[in-house]
């Protein structure tokens, strides 16, 4: 029997935060050093602080992916289907001011600025594995709020069964959205119990900094036990609904992408391996874990045939 642990129990929050402070301090230190170096052209150039990323690891002991790789290798079809182009194409993407509208079957609908949201709710740090349906993965140190906390504030009515997220639609800034073969805007959904699970985040930062645009700034979903495509980026709208929402990838190809999209090595995908994955930054493949290693979510799916509800 696998012992059930929350990631923040394994690595206490204070420790995360002290690491985060260390990260911040060391960054300040290195920029100060760089400034000093600029004043004294004879002095040797200081080595950039890259060691910070190797100081963090997930509860399984795997190191976090480097900041450079997280920001340089993304899937963001709103910009491009290439892995590297979103980094350049999103460079000038305007993410401030940014409001998120929360409505549907709730008692207290809200329209809230992301900057206010960060003030209003408890900000937390979590290190999660991110497993893409394309069989590559990363370990990412997120910061953000629990989706549950936001839902507590808007108070879903008893009729609400699902939560529907809608990404921004802005083809002027997002060239990929000019491709009409895709059902823009990006839509994702969760069952209410998945949304209120203690692992589910609305993330606003990585490595203690604001999200980069290509990583989903200013606010995105993070559901670590599901394939990466569930974790919708640049969220504009959140609605509580009664019916199961049709997600972007379901609309495009429902035989390939299901609503649940739980990481599951036993349910094959017609294109990529779901049994093994390439961890970015490592040389070889590794086995993929059921629910991406987050066994505590298994209770959500008791009695469900996961190969049917994939």
């Amino acid at each position: 029997m696998i012992e059930k642990k929350k990631p923040d129990v394994i690595t206490p929050q204070e420790l995360y935060q002290s690491r985060r402070k260390f990260l911040k301090t060391s960054l300040t230190y290195s920029s100060a050093a760089a400034l000093l170096a600029a004043c004294q052209p004879i002095a040797p150039t200081p080595t950039p602080q890259t060691g910070t990323s190797s100081a963090l690891s997930d509860e399984l002991g795997d190191l976090t992916t480097s900041e450079e790789d997280i920001a340089g290798f993304t899937n963001y079809y709103e910009f491009s289907s290439s892995k590297k182009q979103p980094t350049e194409l999103a460079a000038d993407f305007v993410t401030q001011p940014w409001t998120v509208q929360i409505g549907g079957l709730v008692k207290k609908p809200q329209e809230i600025l992301v900057t206010d949201l960060k003030q209003q709710f408890n900000m937390i740090d979590r290190i999660y594995r991110m497993r893409c349906v394309e069989a590559w993965s990363m370990v990412i140190p997120w910061s953000g709020i629990l989706l549950k906390d936001l839902l507590d504030a808007v108070q879903p009515t008893s009729a609400a069964k699902y939560i529907r997220f809608e990404g921004t639609f802005d083809p002027d800034q997002m060239p990929g959205q000019n491709h009409s073969s895709y059902p823009w805007p990006y839509v994702e959904g969760l069952r209410l119990d998945e949304a209120t699970h203690d692992l589910t985040l609305l993330a606003t930062g990585i490595y203690g900094k604001d999200l980069t645009s290509q990583n989903g700034a200013p606010i995105r979903l993070v559901v670590p036990w599901k394939y990466g495509f569930k974790s919708i980026k640049a969220i504009k709208k959140i609605d509580l609904v009664e019916e199961m929402p049709t997600s972007f990838w379901m609309a495009l190809s429902s035989q390939e992408y299901g609503f649940y999209a739980n990481v599951n090595p036993n349910v094959p995908h017609p294109r990529w391996s779901q049994a093994s994955e390439q961890r970015i930054g490592e040389s070889g493949r590794r086995d993929t874990l059921l629910f991406n290693g987050y066994d505590e979510v298994a209770d959500l799916y008791t009695g469900m045939d996961l190969s049917v509800n994939f």
Binding site: S81, K83, P268, S273, Q278, I280, R285
Partner: protein
């Protein structure tokens, strides 16, 4: 006696290795980080398909222009297609899946498109082995029959890549259209309509190329 390559063979050979050179150069520049196997898989696949289509363009060009040099291009680009297909398969099986049967067997069992690709590679082997002029002469009529397999190989590869592409399949459809056009150019009435009168410039160029 030392065998000398004709100019057209040298040119085609040079063109065939350029993609490998570009890849190796970019690789040393870390352009494919942080996931080089992914880029090598896609790059070798695209290059193999391109050379296969070039190879399939040669017979219609020979028929239309009346230049035998195209047959040399056909052979060399066909071999290039085989080389890049081998590289593609090697990347998948050895570099990506590390020859691990626990990962590979379920993949080939669950994913028909992988079997299509593997079948295409296997069928390319007899074509590559019988590509030399001497063996071609020895095989006579059988040679033609063996090499007609390329039409099936083309179909297998097009299907393989259609299923391998995520989301927007328009690039795969484009290759299918190109293949369709190349097949149509082989139909006798189209071939004969397009055929141009023997031109002296074509003949001069051809002589130079095959020298």
């Amino acid at each position: 006696m030392e065998k000398r390559f004709s100019k057209v063979q040298n040119i085609t050979l040079l063109i065939s290795v350029i993609p490998t050179g570009v890849f190796l150069f970019n690789y040393t520049q870390n352009a494919y980080d942080p996931y080089p196997t992914l880029f090598l898989t896609q790059f070798s696949a695209k290059t193999a398909l391109l050379f296969l289509l070039v190879s399939l363009t040669c017979t219609p060009l020979r028929n239309i222009l009346g230049m035998s040099a195209w047959l040399k291009v056909r052979k060399t680009s066909g071999l290039a297609a085989f080389y890049y297909a081998l590289l593609h398969t090697f990347t998948f099986i050895v570099l990506d899946y590390q020859l691990n049967p626990n990962w590979l067997i379920p993949e080939f069992r669950d994913k028909p498109y992988l079997l299509l690709g593997l079948a295409a590679l296997v069928l390319l082997i007899p074509l590559a082995l019988t590509s030399g002029e001497r063996i071609q002469a020895r095989l006579g009529k059988i040679w033609k029959r063996i090499h007609r397999l390329v039409y099936l190989i083309g179909l297998l590869i097009l299907a393989h890549q259609y299923f391998a592409i995520k989301g927007d399949k328009s690039s795969a459809v484009l290759y299918i259209i190109v293949y369709g056009i190349l097949m149509m150019l082989r139909l006798p009435f189209i071939r004969d309509t397009l055929k141009i009168k023997p031109c002296t410039i074509c003949q001069t160029i051809n002589q130079w190329l095959i020298s």
